[in-house]
Amino acid sequence: MKTKRDKYHGFYFLLAVISLYLILFFFCPEKVYDSLKVSGDIFIRIIPVLFLVILFMALINYFLHPKTVEKYVGKGSGIKGWFFAISAGIISHGPIYVWYPPLKDLRDRGMRSGLIAAFLYSRAIKIPLLPLMVYYFGALFVTVLLLYIVIASLIEGEIVELIERKAKRIGISSFFLLL
């Protein structure tokens, strides 16, 4: 169940960042103006992606029943689940943080945490930016690196699931209580 603290966490975080801006304003107002301009540019750039994500969330809500999610990316999804998560991560577009809400929705509908981790890791592969990467580092470097990123996505997903399984089995350890 969500506590009141969890519910307002986002507002507290935003207030903390605004406070940081206000404090910095007294020391270096021109940097604060520059930061606001940069933030504004970022926000304008991500607006189309935000709409895409909202559309994606609405489509998940409309078409994907928890049973369907369970089938493709749930507990029994096996290799198919890894394939879907990593492929989706590779083709997903926009900054990572806009993908947190739809991933939460999918997890609430039965998506495995390991697959969420694999999705987020495989986002390191940016298909539109590959030519630039090849220009700077060479085709061989990029090919080898991409192969290892896919392998690392699988490893990270597996370890996340392993830790979660262990945490469930042994109960909440003092380490997790701290988190």
Partner: protein
């Protein structure tokens, strides 16, 4: 427009959009906070500063590369450009690889959003693993290249 649920009831596309907006709306303050933090980071931390922290010692530079990539944020294009510049400066490929991998896989600036939306435990585990995996990826990639070439 409606879509039947397995239990026979139907769901409307309008309600689906309403729920999507509502769900996304709760994440907006966090996302705004992250965008404002990104603005501060991109203004206050220069490319020259990132280049200045490398020491020339192989393993230490790889860990520094991984750490710098984790703290840094923004478009991955920037990480390629900085990586290319660092290569010209003679920084090892191990460090540069770790740097460009953690740039997109470890999210220190975005951590509050990830923790608030996907859970703090998940965010801590995922980011810590990503940090160490980036070091392993850099070692594996450069070693493979050495063997191939």
């Amino acid at each position: 427009m409606t879509n039947p649920k397995p239990d026979g009831r139907e769901r409307s596309i309008v309600i689906s959009f309403y729920r999507a907006f509502k769900s996304f709306g709760t994440a907006i303050p966090t996302l705004l906070g992250v965008v404002l933090l990104l603005g501060l980071f991109l203004t206050l931390v220069s490319k020259q500063f990132i280049a200045s922290v490398f020491t020339g010692e192989l393993f230490r530079d790889t860990v520094i590369g991984s750490a710098m990539g984790s703290i840094a944020a923004g478009n991955p294009i920037t990480s390629y450009i900085i990586g290319g510049e660092l290569m010209k400066e003679g920084v090892s490929l191990f460090a540069i690889t770790a740097f460009i991998v953690t740039w997109v896989t470890v999210c220190v600036v975005q951590f509050p959003a990830e923790a608030a939306i996907l859970g703090r435990r998940f965010a801590v585990i995922r980011n810590s693993l990503s940090f160490f995996l980036a070091i392993l990826i850099s070692i594996a990639t450069v070693t493979t290249l050495m063997v191939i070439q």
